[in-house]
Symmetry: C2
Subunit: 503 residues, 2 copies
């Protein structure tokens, strides 16, 4: 195919903007991993300056003309081609971003930059009052943003659409409701008749340097390529991609509890594997990334839970963990470890929750977010609403805000609408896994030996290489033959927890 | 004073460009400290994209108009005011940068980005051939740059002027010659009649984590504010400032030799202290940095050598070092340690050289650079020329290129003209120190107790706070009453090494 000049011109601009986007991600990585707190004010200014350039260039009339000219020149291109996919993507985001005024974008970046530092301080000192005035500003900004984007039914739709385009608030409510109705009886059965699980050996003293060593081992086992990556440390673990050959993850190292580093690393490695395996032909374009947040989360949850909390995985790798912590794990069998890391119980911290109650944590945030965006809940009243919600959903009360409404970074970053994608990710993961097993039954055998390369090959082929060429629903239909639903997750969870708890 | 609108307009543009400059520095920090090698190609593209934006905006006609309008509006401003100083600085750099075509700037950034990775690979594998083709390109770029800038006497002048404006190649040759003529007899005296120095205890096994712990202690002792900084690890130690409240340093940790981490840390801390103490009113402008390279180096060498290799310093702090490494330094007295870290001998690595022979390392590089820029020496012939030069100056031959022409990062970064400023830094440091003692004789007493706060106060007042408001010669005259020369350094070195070697 001869690429028309109009498309080449667009591509040049797209590369340039993509470079600037990635620079923005580098600033964010550095802020969370290396920057002294004192540097935050200047960093927020730097990030805002860069964001304003990206926004101004992207929403320029020139960009609109470049997209229109390329679209015309490539009108006959195959829907599945990189070129047609890139043009679709750009048309959508150009339309969206034109709706945000430049001064709003600058304010949003500046305030969230400073708010993240305030959140870290509030969290460290368990002092919600430090964060409250920033949250108040951020809620107002999110409401303002929703108005710019516009919405049909409710304000929250406009925000959700940016993380999982094509799904409405109403639809998410329905999916969550169906999942809840199936999971609640399962949870009750576990509580009523499950064989008790001992997880006491997960708590003890685990040296940070050894946790780091084992985290590197784990990341390698699941297929994260460390030669094209980096494992850092941050308050809230995250993964970030600067290009396919530089995809990084962070973890936190709790010296008294082994789970956060194990499953945090597996989780972030799942995200990173996705980014490391997008098609090379997508490089330096907005297609070189996962297909929105639910799909991204499906890859992290698949690695963390479906693979990383499976019986076969720990049959194969527990020996290595035990060799790393021989005293702490003396006398523990692989099978006991498998059961321990799948213990179901009401707990306070989302990122450490089991696969079943995790979804309740998300439902709480989903409801609180809607209330804040609708104006039914103010920043100052968040701790009370949070504690009430967690008590009603899980029957427990946080002893402080650190273990309550200050535990997540998302609101300080202004990411309203993001949380629901975590639970959607759980559902997507199970649906993809079920389809992979149907296509290649030998994957199950391989997983029982702690190997995942065939599963990864299937994911590379069906999901990873496509990057952001397709909408979530399109990608799911291609990969599994049907749109996203909650059923595979229910089947998976029922089978797994019946095994864990001898139901 | 009422600030005219024309000046405010200029300042807004200056802040924006300064933010982008600092973002460029963050990319460089990240590349050297965290980035996996595989990320280098994309990083070079990102850096080039950013550099092109900065260059294009800075050399725009709009910028010229802003500077001209502000200059006119501020015509009556005091020479010493921030406003007049900023306008002077911008006029000079605007004129200079207008001389570089945009495509040249992009090529320069892209090629040096890739060349730095090639240099690291060449250095790690002791394989000069990996670096040679890159060096060849970089020499050609430096020659091209010199032609764009223009020069009166020789091509090298154009490059030197960017690091130490106001000094010509001829003048530097003369200063180095005068210094050499005084230092050679001193070195001969040491070799002929100096009391032998035992430095065997500097070599042994020093755990990296303990070296890092002591480096933090040392950095704090000399006044580097870690709350506004960060200590990282990189192949070639450096310091970098993202703003006054985020000034970072790196070190390398040689497990078999304690000196690199001690004196590397002191050296970079000296640079960082300068940046942390520029006047807050200079923030987000190109005045918020040290007065060119020689002055910057004077601060690092003052902390590293004049303070950090003094008898009083180790009388006060050796106990702490000994407590960190009790086995390795058992039975060593502070006085013996002081003499050991001041041992004068021919050695191969510039950054580990003693204060006397250090200057010979610089003279070699100064001569080789001129030869490469003049076309008398090609990249492929560098190793031979290097080895010949080091043999003639120091009587020793590098066993490999790692300890020869591959030891420094500068040429891979295209920084021709930078090296001479290291030796100038030594001379400036001694001249400033002598003036400080003359103004405040109690500084000497304080130093003998290992304290340096009065010396730092003098430097903050006379040097640091002014940032880049003045040319080096102006700043030196203000601080010491005379232009830079070699005499104070000779007095200082003679006194110190007569003490160390009982001459």
């Amino acid at each position: 195919m001869i690429i028309p000049t109009a498309y080449e011109n667009l591509l040049q601009k797209v590369h340039r903007l993509h470079d600037l986007e990635k620079i923005s991600s580098i600033l964010s990585w550095d802020r969370q991993v290396s920057m002294p707190k004192a540097g935050n004010e200047a960093r927020a200014q730097q990030a805002a300056t860069l964001r304003a350039i990206i926004h101004t260039e992207f929403v320029s009339d020139e960009m609109g003309d470049l997209i229109a000219a390329a679209a015309e020149a490539m009108a006959g291109a195959d829907y599945d081609s990189t070129e047609a996919s890139l043009i679709r993507r750009l048309q959508q985001s150009y339309t969206d971003e034109r709706k945000l005024p430049a001064d709003f974008v600058t304010r949003f970046t500046t305030i969230t930059g400073q708010a993240e530092a305030a959140w870290e301080e509030a969290r460290a000192g368990d002092d919600f009052a430090v964060f409250a005035p920033w949250l108040e500003q951020i809620i107002a900004l999110a409401q303002e943003k929703a108005e710019y984007y516009g919405y049909k039914e409710e304000k929250y739709d406009a925000l959700l659409d940016k993380y999982e385009p094509g799904l409405t608030t109403t639809e998410v409510r329905a999916i969550f409701q169906a999942a809840r109705e199936a999971l609640v009886p399962l949870r009750r059965a576990i509580a009523d008749r499950g064989r008790p699980v001992d997880d006491s050996f997960l708590y003890g003293h685990f040296e940070t340097s050894k946790q780091q060593e084992f985290a590197r081992y784990l990341a390698g086992v699941v297929g994260y390529d460390m030669k094209r990556g980096h494992l850092g440390t941050s308050v809230h673990p995250f993964s970030t991609s600067f290009n396919q050959n530089d995809v990084r993850i962070t973890a936190r190292w709790d010296p008294g509890f082994i789970n956060p580093s194990l499953f945090g690393t597996l989780h972030e490695a799942g995200h990173a594997i996705y980014e490391q395996n997008t098609g090379p032909e997508l490089a330096r374009t907005p297609l070189a990334r996962g297909a929105w947040m639910g799909f991204h989360e499906s890859q992290s949850r698949l690695v963390e839970n479906i693979v990383g909390r499976s019986r076969g995985f720990w049959q194969a790798h527990f020996g290595q963990l035990q060799a790393t912590f021989p005293e702490q794990l003396a006398g523990v069998r692989a099978d006991e470890f498998f059961r321990a890391v799948n213990k179901v119980e009401a707990s306070l911290i989302r990122v450490e929750a089991d696969e079943l109650t995790y979804n309740l944590h998300i439902i709480l945030r989903f409801e609180l977010e809607q209330a804040m965006i609708n104006g039914d809940l103010t920043a100052r009243n968040l701790p009370a609403a949070w504690n009430e919600g967690i008590a009603s959903l899980l029957g427990i009360t946080p002893p402080d805000d650190r273990q309550g409404c200050l535990q997540d970074i998302h609101w300080s970053a202004g990411s309203f609408g993001y949380f629901p994608t975590y639970a959607l990710g759980n559902l997507y993961a199970a649906q993809l896994f079920e389809a992979a097993l149907a296509d290649s039954p030998e994957i199950e055998h391989e997983l029982n030996s702690g190997e995942i390369s065939q599963l990864m090959d299937w994911l590379h082929e069906k999901v990873h290489r496509h990057g952001r060429k397709y909408l979530p629903v399109e990608l799911m239909v291609q990969a599994t033959g049907r749109p996203p639903d909650h059923q595979a997750f229910i089947r998976y969870a029922t089978r797994k927890f019946s095994d864990v708890y001898d139901l």
